[in-house]
Amino acid sequence: MTLIVVLAAMGGLFALTILALAIGRTALGPVVVYGGSLLICAVAGLAALWQLVGGAEAPTATLPLGLPWLGAHFRIDALAAFFLVVVNLGSAAASLFALGYGRREHAPMRVLPFYPTFLAAMSLVVVADDAYTFLFSWELMSISSWALVVAHHETRDNLRAGYIYVVMASFGTFALLLAFGLLAGSDGGYAFAQMRDLPLTPTVAALVLILVLVGAGSKAGLVPLHVWLPLAHPAAPSHVSALMSGVMTKVAVYAFIRIVFDLLQTPVWWSSMLVLAIAGITCVMGVLYALMQHDLKRLLAYHTVENIGIIFIGLGLALAFQAYGLASAAALAFTAALLHVFNHSLFKSLLFFGSGAVLNATGMRDMEHQGGLIHRMPLTAFTFLVGSVAISALPPLNGFVSEWLTFQAILLSPELPSWGLKFLVPAVGALLALSAALAAACFVKAFGVTFLGRPRSKAAERAQETDRYSLAAMFLLAGLCLIAGIFPGVFIDALAPVAKALVGESLPLQSDLPYFSIVPIAESRGSYDGLLVFLFMLVSGSLAAVAIHRLASNRLRRGPAWDCGFPDPSPATQYSSASFAQPIRRVFGTMMFRARETVDMPAPGDMRPARLEVGLRDLIWDVAYAPIVGGIDYGARQLNRLQFLTIRQYLSLVFAALVGLLLVLAIWP
């Protein structure tokens, strides 16, 4: 039943694509496409939710499509259902946002036809139950999102972003393809059911694991495979950026979980170490890169990298605990990861919506020209603030809950017998803590420079509050962030069947605990109650306010800012995003980015302004990618000579080939 609804929904989305080709140019186009996708995704999401909570038997179906002798297999187990919820919730929210935002699109025919396909492809990846259908949808997802990335192709950067994206995407797909090739075995058992039964040798299993880490990781944005992400996500229209960052990366996480936890039955003992190390590095690198950005959307994209790192830390811990048979601990780590998947999809979409609203209001992505928007667009500012608090992992919002669970899981590391892990896990914990703190710093900067202070440009002064559809979407997500923050138990219980299915154990039931508190292992080990914390703060804050206004003064007078006696007229003297990040850049940047500051101080009497220039270098690109590019270019240049030989020289090639083959024959036994 659920499956039928979901597949029908996908069909509907493809139909919308056709429709978009027809009426995309008309004023009606965006309304139909986005409204339609909103409804369809809402339905599909609800169906999946029903499947997840109702815990019915996993429905399966086989359509006579795809590989002829195999057919297209579909299945919705608990894992798929959960990710369907994430995907379709995000898609629905994005469509709602786009109902307002998308109407102002200047090239609708470059967005509308691909948008529903993109949504459908993401859901299809999750419900696919054989390798061909999976990779087909996976690559369809990539290519349709590529089309959306190059929708605004006038700017060179977007084209470059799209190019790097499509190459990296094919790279990842090939990695997954090879992995499936190994899992399927030589006689091509491409159905997931067959793969689960196929026994693998340890080396093959290890190979599969690495390939999956590369394939899914390149899509999710694990360092050092993340390079395309901060280029491509911001280049797309904002609602698509939200989808790519908030949802598509989660599909990649799904691929990792599906293959490593489900299909790959042979355990690889060192897998957890590899995953943990990469994940820890990803966290810190991601947030440090984010701190150095001035482009709001790119900053958000880099934060996606960071959060993916957090998710993979959870998954790595789950692998570690699973490898040593600590099922309940594995369940804790796994649940933490999944909960963060959900939470991140909420607040990352929310933040991208906010950035879209800002982009719309001021026409700029560069934070250095924003400022003071909180006065012009207070509602957007409020929702963006909620998102910032959530992503900075601060109570009482949802971001904190999942990171708290991850910490709790890390604290179980002493139970691990392996020495390597004993030492690795606390180190990873330190990295996680560092990245959490840096994230907070980064969002103080993002929100402060964009929304607070004084406008740094005319455009920022003239900004207008965004339309009501966008606001509705943002408030919806902000509300969900709060609810998921103060009633985490409900969501953890919803995840129980997933954990049960994949790590064989699940967290104790949370919803019957008093005051909605959550207790991952035992009361004595640690507990958290978002609701109470929230209420306490509400009460004490309002108590203080009331008391003061009643008993003490409530008088208020406006006046010029004091600023130690010399208030500066020009907004240019405010702290900008670069200057705000400067202390942190001096701490980390010199090592991470070869940050170099050059001060050009004119001589006294010289009228030109002094300049301070900061040079940052992306070492990962320099080390990992530049050589490849150079190598290919070199090879192309060398081989290209062959295009300009004379006929006689070509004949000599043929002659050489002939003689060579004859020699082979002559020495053939």
Binding site: S137, H153, L177, A636, Q643, I647, A657, L658
Partner: protein, 480 residues
């Protein structure tokens, strides 16, 4: 009944060729051309449905060549439709003369006849003659514009092809000598069906030697590196419909010949396995072409090199063998000729719109000519092996089935594919996106053939009809 169909497949083009040769050159002859190719296509496809005649000394119909003949005649038909509109535009533009039209259309039919003969014959000698005929015809068509570049390309093609032909003939003679002791003197020793029947009695050493010569001889036509040199220039300098014919038809026919001889070697237990040789040349072609794609400034050469890459993939697949890989190779061959000819249709229009073949002088095509531009994008996405289009399926099968058995072979293949994808999209960015560059006339050529092909490829990616699958699987088993 069906023997008549076979005769028709050969007869229609032959007679039409004579007819077109004698008729005065005129725009209307294009319609005669279309009609003839269409009838040929009908006759060919009827081969699928009626029971087949017993193989004679000269003619043979089996699963393998019926797949080829249907594909070839279909692409021949659509190409003739496209070429009608294309040549018409050239004619209006005053680029070509009536005598040109006459020659062009006559040669087109001769070509179709040569292909049909090469595919349907049961005799390796006749096959060789037919392929030589096809070569000479295409040489003349490539040089038909009489420009310096065209003449040079044609000349280069001619010389290299002649050497290839010579080598192929030597191989054919060797096969005969290998067969002659077992079968006896005379015609029988050149007849496929009989050769196959007695293959295991042949002298393996001679067969090996023969295969080396045949691989190099027909491989020249397939365009495998390092024998590819004629291919890019021939594609680039001839009329665009002929580029489509070369990529979509000639390469496949040559490949068909190779496959036949591979089967022959496969049927002889002592002979060395032809697989490794084909795998080696296939990989070489893929990697080489992938690198060559990067520095192409000429749009037709770009896609010519991509043809080399894909012929490499197909040869590789057949070299690997096994039901999956063979199926994949066959599928890839069909889809590649459909896609590549569709791309060349698009390229023809683009060149007419922009008035140049230099990629640097064209840009923003999706802005100026949306239908054409997105058609090209779809074609490139397809040729890059991305869904929802069908080549994804064949590449999926090739890579995954190879990797499970021979991991070390799949890795270089994947590298080549990846590098190729990079190059194709790099050029696509320049052609289809960005600020519009160059003139922006309306395109004259008809879009119908292009989108017909793309539609078929799209369908293949999503749903393959059962009968087609069954047919392909039979062929795959035949090729074992």
């Amino acid at each position: 009944m069906s023997l008549d169909a076979v005769i028709l497949v050969l007869l229609i083009p032959a007679t039409t060729a004579v007819l077109l040769a004698v008729l005065p050159g005129d725009r209307r002859t294009a319609y005669l051309n279309i009609a003839a190719t269409f009838l040929t296509f009908l006759a060919a496809s009827s081969l699928l449905f009626f029971d087949r005649p017993p193989p004679g000394p000269y003619l043979l119909v089996d699963d393998l060549n019926s797949v080829f003949i249907v594909l070839i005649t279909f692409v021949g038909f659509t190409t003739s439709v496209f070429s009608a509109s294309y040549i018409d535009h050239e004619f209006e533009a005053g680029l070509v003369t009536p005598s040109f039209l006459r020659l062009y259309h006559a040669l087109y039919q001769v070509l179709m006849f040569a292909f049909g003969l090469a595919l349907l014959t049961n005799n390796i000698g006749v096959m060789w003659v037919a392929i030589e005929l096809a070569t000479l015809t295409t040489v003349m068509m490539v040089g038909i514009y009489r420009t310096h570049e065209a003449l040079e390309a044609a000349w280069k093609y001619f010389i290299l092809a002649s050497v290839g032909i010579a080598l192929a003939l030597f191989g054919t003679i060797l096969v005969y000598m290998a067969a002659q002791p077992a079968i006896g003197e005379g015609l029988d020793s050149m007849v496929w069906t009989i050769l196959m029947a007695h293959a295991n009695g042949f002298d393996p050493g001679l067969l090996n030697l023969a295969f080396v010569f045949l691989l190099l001889g027909y491989g020249t036509k397939v365009g495998l590196a390092p024998l590819h040199a004629w291919l890019p220039d021939a594609h680039a300098e001839g009329p665009t419909p002929i580029s489509a014919v070369l990529s979509g038809l000639l390469l496949n026919v040559a490949l068909y010949a190779l496959l036949r001889f591979k089967m022959l070697l496969g049927a002889n237990p002592e002979a060395l396995a032809p697989g490794p040789l084909m795998i080696g040349m296939g990989l070489l072609s893929v990697l080489f072409a992938a690198f060559m794609l990067y520095r192409r400034g000429d749009i037709k050469r770009l896609f010519a090199y991509s043809s080399i890459e894909h012929m490499g993939i197909i040869t590789f697949a057949f070299g690997v063998g096994g039901p999956l890989a063979n199926f994949a190779g066959l599928l890839h061959m069909c889809l590649h000729s459909l896609t590549k000819s569709a791309i060349f249709f698009a390229v023809g229009d683009i060149v007419q719109v922009k008035g140049t073949q230099k990629i640097a002088d064209m840009g923003g095509l999706t802005v100026t000519n949306p239908v054409l531009g997105w058609g090209l994008v779809a074609g490139v996405v397809a040729i890059a092996g991305l869904p929802p289009l069908g080549i994804f399926m064949s590449e999926f099968l090739v890579v995954s089935s190879t990797f499970a058995r021979e991991p070390l072979l799949a890795v270089p293949l994947v590298l080549g594919l990846l590098i190729g994808v990079g190059a194709l999209f790099l050029r696509l960015n320049t052609i289809a996106f960005g600020e519009p560059r160059g003139p922006t006339h309306k395109a004259q050529g008809s879009y119908v053939p292009m989108f017909a092909h793309l539609g078929l490829v799209l369908m293949a990616g999503i749903y393959l009809p059962g009968p087609v699958v069954a047919l392909f699987q039979n062929v795959a088993r035949l090729l074992e």
